[in-house]
């Protein structure tokens, strides 16, 4: 018979729409509107999982997002597999495939249950005391075993094919939760004319209210009031309703993170539809109407399948038309459970007894015909895959224990206001002794809690509280509140219990506090016994409250237990912080579109397409793609670089230098500003001339370098390193805006505006001259380090005669859009003469042959200009520049400072590794004294052997010495030489 435990009347399900689904390979039938949990319960299935550590059989505990036990994996296809979903939130659809987790080979028989047998050896914190000996066993035995055993669900192995959307929204009032408090607040806010967003994690609004058949609101049946209210809200254009939408995080200044589930409930999501949508909502006011969590009781054997929260059983009955069992016992310490018991009895379930911890249950609690055992506790339960009986015993009074047969045991310890979002907002809580609960006290953000999460119970009171919160919110936003609060009766429930239930002589078995992390009351006692007193320590040592349910059903009981064990009051012990997310959030939702190609912007230089078409191999320089080398035929990098270097030094090379930073410095005080920033003496630089600029930090260390051209008295074309461009501009702006605001100078970043084509080699002038217009580039008129404005192939041009290769060279600056066609023209003119394109690798080799540093390679933020041989660049007699005071320090002139030198290996074929340490003696025993390191190292085609640059202590005083590069295969002898390996007098660039 299908769905043997289904009865009519479930308000959230459609009896005329059956749904077929599979759980652990078996086919079942449910109804549209069911969750996986309710559908399985309708089929009499309680066993839904195995616990984390002990692999104990577990059933569903709750009916909502606080579920700790029933974690399942839902599979749509090979790539769409989602683990660790709560069966109480999975909406069944036709063809749903779900499986249980953390068991092998199956739920009914799980090998992992051996952990339960040896449970006493794996109590809290056992991993701090084990797996240490022998050490060798860790890599091959312990770690692989632990990895296989740990965790709950299995992570999918295929990339997530779904799309996730991001939205931003602003509103006046964000209401989180659509129970009575939330709806009352939303009504108030919307009627006042505010922009309202109302969200609820459930598939529809007011679901918690819809399952409640007893109450009337504004003299109408609840269901009618609900329908009317939702219709009003839906019709209001200023109200946005977000269902299946979890508020997962409260961020600073009222930014709330929401995740809206869009397609997981559909049998066939439309192709390309976003699976989830992340909302970042900035609300002027937030109303938190998050409700309260029902608290379980902590007694031995409280985790068998069939043991669940009383309110959950009621919900399954009223909301889904599902009987959780045939013979039910209710264990409670509060009044509500009596109501639940009577409702179940009315529905035809045999309620064997109500077991009340209280010696005198309150007058409000009416049991009808159900036998009540007051002043009794639960000693133990029996039944492995399903509860079979519960043994109860009197508390503090002589009397025999008795066993009651049952197939479901409902428990209720009272209610705990849900403080997760409030805690995330960094609000302060206080202990309300009247209701034995922490409640919000001092807000840190512009929010207000309402209803059960505010410590307000009873439908009438909750509606009033919600309306008041809505009223306050709109007043704060400057609206006039309209209308009255909805009216309903409130019943005053009493009672509640925190911490472990009183024990009895007959007590036997594990009493669980935290179901998901398998933490028992004994674990808490053990932690206290081992000396942990702070709740923060006890939490982390036992891991209670640290699972994916973030302690929704466990935190307060754990706290109360620790209070009892340490003889303190609950407020004295205090509450640990609740962490976001409220329930787990997919990586996809957080990533949105920032994945794969869209993860980071890619910056491409103007000639990127040309280089790509020629088969260039690219490298990443920050976000830039730069051509590293242009292999021809079967060339590897070394062969390509050798050919490119030879082409540059022998004929001419063509290089895309567009990524270099460029800053236009303009104004009457431009030269004064440059003087104060850079070490060089700019005021003496004539317009039409260039100079190699060095920029220090205020602490005297080299920050950046680059050739600077002076175009006019009031205009400088400043270049920086590719990676340093933004940094240099920020530094310039900092000084200009905050130190020298009186200077009249403007700075503009023009890195992307100018394309830069470097033409380097002995034939450079011959190739360029016919193309250049308006500039005489004869050697007399345009010596090395000149700059002029003209045009090339009709495009505006700034021509700089500069050389990073040491050859006769030019950098042709044209507006970036013109660069590709100008490049084509230069290429056409040069290729017949042996011109070759070259990439960054060749560029690095050629400059190293000339001893030119690269900031960030030879320097590391601790090199002064003098350390890297750039002391000559400092303008003599300059009164002040950034870093001047620092380089005057004695320590900056010590002779043993690391200084730039060249090193040549004794074996010319040996290319040292960059980063190799330099030592004075070979073959020493560690620790060796490191006196320097290799900063750049290449096979030099020009010299026909390896070369390297290094920073060595007192390097300039060691020229000619033999030192050693420490290598695992045998320290390599090197001789210290000048860093300029080629053309030491710089004749070739000046040709």
């Amino acid at each position: 018979m299908t769905q043997p435990f289904r009865i009519a009347g479930g308000r959230l399900v459609a009896p005329d729409r059956p749904i077929r689904f599979r759980f652990d390979g078996r086919a079942y039938e449910g109804l549209a509107g069911d969750t996986l949990a309710s559908a399985l319960l309708a089929n009499g299935v309680h066993l839904m999982g195995r616990s984390f550590k002990y692999h104990r059989p577990r059933g569903v505990l709750s009916a909502g997002s606080d579920e700790p036990n029933a974690l399942v994996t839902v599979r749509r296809d090979d790539a769409r597999i989602t683990p660790n979903l709560r069966a109480t939130q999975v909406e069944v659809y036709e063809g749903l495939e779900a499986t249980s987790q953390n068991r092998w080979p199956g739920l009914g028989f799980d090998v992992g249950a051996v952990n339960d047998v040896f449970g006493r050896f794996i109590t809290a914190g056992f991993y701090y005391k084990t797996f240490m000996w022998p050490r060798r066993a860790w890599d091959r035995l312990y770690e692989p075993l632990i990895r296989r055993a740990a965790g709950l669900g299995e992570a999918p192995t295929r990339p997530d094919p779904d799309r996730y959307a991001h939205r931003y929204a602003h509103c006046d009032v964000l209401v989180v939760g659509s129970g009575p408090a939330g709806l009352a607040a939303a009504l108030q806010a919307s009627r006042a004319g505010a922009r309202v967003i109302l969200c609820d994690e459930q598939p529809d609004f007011g679901n918690t209210l819809r399952g409640d058949n007893a109450a009337a609101i504004d003299a109408a049946p609840t269901a009618a009031w609900l329908d009317q209210t939702l219709a009003e809200l839906a019709a209001n254009p200023k109200v946005r309703l977000l269902r299946r939408c979890q508020a997962f995080g409260y961020f600073a200044h009222n930014l709330i993170g929401l995740v809206e589930r869009l397609t997981d409930h559909l049998p066939a999501p439309p192709p390309g539809a976003a699976r989830e949508r992340l909302w970042q909502v900035r609300a002027r006011r937030v109303v938190i109407a998050a409700g309260a969590h029902e608290r379980p009781l902590v007694f031995p054997g409280n985790d068998r399948p069939g043991v669940m929260l009383s309110g959950a059983a009621r919900r399954y009955l009223d909301g889904y038309g599902v009987k959780v069992g045939q013979r039910v016992v209710v264990a409670t310490a509060c009044d509500q459970a009596y109501d639940d018991a009577r409702a179940l009895a009315t529905a035809g379930i045999e309620v064997v007894a109500i077991v009340d911890l209280r010696a005198e249950p309150s007058a409000v609690a009416r049991a009808g015909d159900i036998p009540v055992f007051a002043g009794h506790t639960v000693a133990r339960t029996s039944g492995r895959l399903r509860i079979r009986s519960v043994t109860i015993a009197p508390i503090e009074v002589a009397g025999a224990a008795r066993a009651l047969e049952c197939d479901a045991l409902l428990m209720s310890g009272g209610f705990t206001p849900s403080l997760h979002l409030f805690s995330q907002s960094r609000g302060k809580m206080r202990w309300d002794a009247d209701i034995s609960a922490f409640v919000p006290d001092q807000s840190a953000e512009a929010e207000q809690s309402a209803g059960a999460c505010h410590g307000v119970y009873g439908l009438g009171e909750v509606l009033r509280d919600g309306a008041e919160a809505g009223r306050q919110a709109v007043l704060a936003c400057g609206f006039a509140p309209a209308g009255h609060a909805p009216v309903a009766e409130s019943r005053t429930w009493t009672g509640g219990h925190l911490g472990a239930a009183p024990p009895a002589t007959a007590s036997r078995g594990k009493a669980f506090v935290d179901w998901q992390n398998d933490v028992t009351a004994k674990d808490l006692a053990q932690a206290v016994q081992e000396g942990f007193r702070s709740i923060e320590h006890v939490k982390r040592y036992t891991t209670t409250g640290m699972a994916t349910d973030q302690g929704k059903t466990s935190n307060i009981n754990a706290l109360a237990e620790v209070a009892r064990l340490t003889g303190r009051s609950i407020p004295e012990v205090g509450l640990t912080a609740f962490r976001m997310p409220y329930t787990p959030v997919t990586f996809g939702a957080l990533a949105g579109m920032a994945r794969r190609d869209l993860f980071d912007p890619v910056r491409q230089a103007p000639m990127h397409g040309w280089a790509e078409a020629r088969g260039a191999v690219f490298e990443d320089v920050g976000l830039w793609k730069r051509a590293r080398y242009f292999p021809q035929g079967a060339e590897d990098m070394n062969a390509a670089v050798a050919r490119e270097c030879a082409a540059v030094r022998g004929a001419c090379g063509l290089f895309d230098a567009s990524t270099l930073g460029k800053i236009e410095v303009v104004g009457p005080d431009a030269a004064e500003f440059m003087n104060r920033m850079y070490v060089n003496a700019w005021t003496r630089l004539e317009p039409g001339r260039c100079r190699y600029g060095v920029l220090l930090r205020e602490d005297g260390f080299v920050l950046d370098d680059g050739v600077v051209g002076r175009l006019a008295a009031d205009r400088f074309h400043v270049t920086t390193t590719t990676g340093g461009a933004a940094r240099v501009l920020v530094m310039m702006e900092d000084y200009l805006q905050t130190e020298w605001p009186d200077l009249e100078v403007w700075l503009t970043s023009v890195t992307e505006q100018w394309g830069v084509i470097a033409v380097q080699g002995p034939l450079a002038r011959r190739i360029l001259a016919p193309l250049v217009e308006g500039v005489d580039i004869s050697p007399e008129a345009f010596p090395h380090m000149s700059i002029a404005v003209g045009s090339i192939c009709g495009a505006p041009m700034r021509l700089m005669r500069v050389s990073f290769t040491g050859e006769l060279g030019y950098e042709v600056n044209v507006p970036a859009g013109h660069a590709p066609s100008v490049w084509d023209a230069i290429w056409a003119a040069g290729r017949a003469l042996g011109m070759a394109p070259y990439g960054t690798e060749t560029m690095h080799v050629l400059r190293a042959e000339k001893g030119f540093i690269i900031v960030g390679q030879e320097t590391d933020g601790t090199a002064t200009p003098d350390d890297v041989g750039l002391g000559w660049a400092i303008g003599k007699g300059k009164r002040d520049f950034v870093g001047k005071r620092s380089i005057a320090r004695e320590a900056m002139h010590r002779p043993d400072r690391k200084q730039l030198v060249g090193v040549l290996t004794a074996n010319p074929k040996l290319v040292l590794e960059e980063g190799m340490q330099i030592v004075e003696q070979a073959g020493g025993k560690p620790p060796l004294t490191m006196i320097g390191h290799v900063t750049s190292s290449y096979a030099s085609p020009t010299l026909g052997r390896s070369i390297a640059l290094a920073m060595v202590s007192g390097g300039r005083g060691r020229l000619g010495q033999t030192l050693y590069a420490a290598r695992p295969g045998g320290d390599a002898p090197v001789s210290v030489v000048s860093p300029v390996f080629y053309d030491p007098r710089g004749e070739r660039a000046n040709a």
């Binding site: 961020f251 900035r282 840190a444 805006q737």
Partner: protein, 96 residues
Amino acid sequence: MLLIACPYCGERPEVEFAYAGQAHLARPAKAETLSDDDWAAYLYMRSNTKGHHAERWRHLHGCARFFNAVRDTTSDRFIATYKVGETAPGAGEAER
């Protein structure tokens, strides 16, 4: 996600800004007269206030201007923001 009130642009989310360190550190005019220790103090010594901290921000992805702020480092609340060259409103807030 802090909301920061740029004195020029108004309230904008924190991703548009870059933090720029302690405020009101004037670069010594005659640095050559400072001892190494005093110069080091200017370079490296910074307050570590628990409470109202005067600091600089820059509206990097907006007007790109630097400005000053007083922020409570315990609650991340911005007490005030004000332009370069101005003094903090209610200046002289003591550390808590």
